[in-house]
């Protein structure tokens, strides 16, 4: 098995795929969005409970490959308790890690999320890793939109 493939399917990813964290539905979420990758059929729902501008709770449901499932699971762990600004910063760093070309850089701020860096070697799989994040962004926007209409 190639080094790149080992890098893609690290033990942390396989573990989050087998036992996803924060999987399930949140009752009466303050933010919710569905994400879909029509190319591969990956489907994800993200539920949010916001407390002011802080993510009090977050969960996901859906069916997808190991990369998207692990990415969603790791995302929920990474953003729980964070403020909107902090979430945005993590999102940006994550995005830049998975789409980076050239030599891999260190991303110590990302914590466990760094294990998803291996997807940059697999361009067709990058969307699998970013789908949960784009869905989260939509869920956060829904929350902001709700706030603004009230």
């Amino acid at each position: 098995m190639s080094v790149e493939l080992r890098e893609l399917y690290q033990e942390v990813i396989l573990d989050h795929n087998r036992r996803p964290r924060n999987r399930g539905k949140l009752e009466e979420p303050t933010g919710f969005a569905e994400g879909h990758n029509p190319l591969c059929g990956d489907h994800i729902k993200v539920y949010l409970h916001m407390d002011g501008d802080r993510v009090a709770d977050v969960s996901f449901e859906g069916s997808g490959c190991a990369i998207s499932t692990a990415s969603a699971s790791l995302m929920t762990e990474a953003i729980k308790g964070k403020t909107l600004d902090e979430v945005e910063a993590v999102f940006r760093e994550f995005q830049s890690m998975v789409t980076a070309t050239g030599e891999a850089e260190e991303h110590p701020d990302l914590g466990d999320l760094e294990v998803l860096g291996g997807v940059r070697e697999y361009p067709v799989r990058i969307k699998c890793a970013t789908l949960p994040w784009h869905t989260l962004k939509a869920a956060l926007k829904g929350e902001e939109a709700k706030v603004s209409t009230e």
């Binding site: 098995m1 190639s2 790149e4 493939l5 893609l8 399917y9 396989l14 795929n17 190319l39 591969c40 059929g41 990956d42 489907h43 069916s63 997808g64 490959c65 190991a66 990369i67 499932t69 697999y122 799989r125 699998c128």
Partner: protein
């Protein structure tokens, strides 16, 4: 027609240069023929020769090259006439592909013949290009699209089909060989049933072209469409066969050059068949390449026959051999994959083409595809443009190995070994 003589598959493989590619240092195992097939040297050489020695526009120039290109383009049409056994070559329209052919029928025959309340029957196993064009025309004229259900093994429910047929049914659009399940549908019977209520039938032969000897007259198909790049020809070429009286009664599709008889600002008269439906400069190189593909397949038939024979008989021999071989590979592949614990084959109809779609309980098709790719194995993963099929079977996606005339048992063994590696990692 089965022939006794057999052929050396290594010699056939040697005619497909891409098959010697190394992927990650391993020999390419190409099992994605349902998406597109590889091309033999004869086709690659012919298209190359076209650009170097023949390129000119057709049906209008008086010069040497134009006449040469025109002759080769028209010869390809004659070959497809034999390939499909249509009555004459006017019934063979070249298009950009299977999707373009279906849209042409939906928008021309459909506009002229469908009205509010009419029904179009498709099946649950259609791929999107035999669903969406019918939804579009149905929306435009107020017709209704209804779906024929399929069984757990992936076969048409013929009783349900009979129940859906009525005097309201005007079109039945049905796939000959399912790309996602492999099922070979009983199209001759389905066409008879449709004709009994006065409905027309379009058969989507995208996956039948590379696997089955097609006879549009024996089927009594009203329309039959081919996707040529799936049958060892270049991309960008499709065929629409239609019964001459239907094609003649249909209004033109796209307007432009080559499809007119005379043009004045007040009134244009249209060209005869088949040109009426071939507006603009067609994919000349692709069509000539398609002609070379038919010759290549006939050449395979010649080797089997070992005597002089006409094109139809040589194609009979080639497809007889292919069907027998692919049948063996399908049986072998089904057995080998079924041995893997946790693997479920999707599509288990008794009458199947060499298409093996499966799911694995421990891994998603996308992950399976990436790990197989690492082993040099090319498969398709996803919904195969058949989202209703995935919904029917309650799965998001499958992994699909689709075989062609150059595939071998050894390659199926590699596939099975690759799937076992996936299980080691995810199980």
């Amino acid at each position: 027609m089965a022939t006794k003589k057999t052929l050396d598959v290594d010699a056939i493989r040697a005619e497909f240069p891409i098959l010697s590619t190394l992927v990650n240092g391993r020999p390419l195992t190409y099992l994605d023929n349902g998406a597109t097939s590889q091309k033999p040297n004869a086709v690659i050489r012919k298209t190359d020769e076209y650009w170097r020695e023949t390129n000119a526009n057709i049906h209008r120039g008086v010069h040497y090259l134009s006449q040469k290109a025109t002759r080769q383009y028209d010869e390809a049409r004659e070959k497809i006439q034999v390939f499909l056994n249509s009555r004459n070559s006017k019934e063979v329209i070249f298009t950009a592909g299977c999707t373009a052919s279906i849209n042409l029928v939906a928008q021309t025959w459909g506009r002229a013949n469908l009205k509010a309340g009419d029904e179009i029957l498709i099946s649950t196993m259609e791929h999107h290009s035999n669903i969406v064009p019918w939804q579009l025309i149905a929306e435009q004229v107020g017709a209704v699209v209804r779906a024929i259900p399929i069984t757990d093994s992936g076969e048409i429910e013929l009783d349900a089909y009979q129940g859906l047929l009525s005097e309201k049914t005007k079109m039945v659009a049905i796939v000959h060989v399912s790309n996602s399940l492999g099922t070979i549908n009983p199209v001759a019977q389905m066409i008879r049933m449709a004709h009994n209520v006065g409905a027309k039938v379009l058969v989507d032969g995208a996956q039948a072209g590379p696997h089955l000897r097609i006879d549009v007259q024996a089927l009594d198909a009203d329309f039959y469409v081919l996707s040529c790049h799936k049958m060892y020809a270049p991309t960008g070429v499709g065929v629409l066969y239609g019964k001459q009286n239907l094609l003649e009664a249909m209004p033109p599709y796209q307007g432009g050059g080559d499809m007119i008889h005379t043009v004045s600002i007040e009134k244009t008269t249209y060209a005869e068949l088949p040109f009426k439906f071939e507006a603009g400069t067609p994919n000349i190189a692709g069509v000539i390449g398609l002609g070379a593909t038919i010759d290549y397949l006939a050449g395979v038939g010649s080797e089997l026959l070992e005597r002089e024979a006409g094109l139809a008989e040589r194609l009979d021999a080639c497809f007889g051999w292919m069907e027998e071989r692919e049948g063996e590979l399908l049986e072998y592949g089904t057995a080998v994959l079924s041995d893997i614990e946790g693997l479920t084959i999707t599509g288990t109809a008794p009458h199947k083409a060499a298409i093996l779609a499966f799911t694995l309980d421990c891994a998603h098709p996308h992950d399976i595809g990436t790990i197989l790719d690492n082993e040099g194995i090319a498969v398709r993963t996803g919904h195969h443009c058949c989202m209703p099929v995935m919904t029917r079977f309650g799965i998001p996606a499958t992994t699909r190995a689709s075989l062609g005339l150059y595939n071998t048992k050894e390659e199926i063994d590699r596939l099975a070994a690759g799937v076992r590696k996936v299980k080691e990692m995810f199980g």
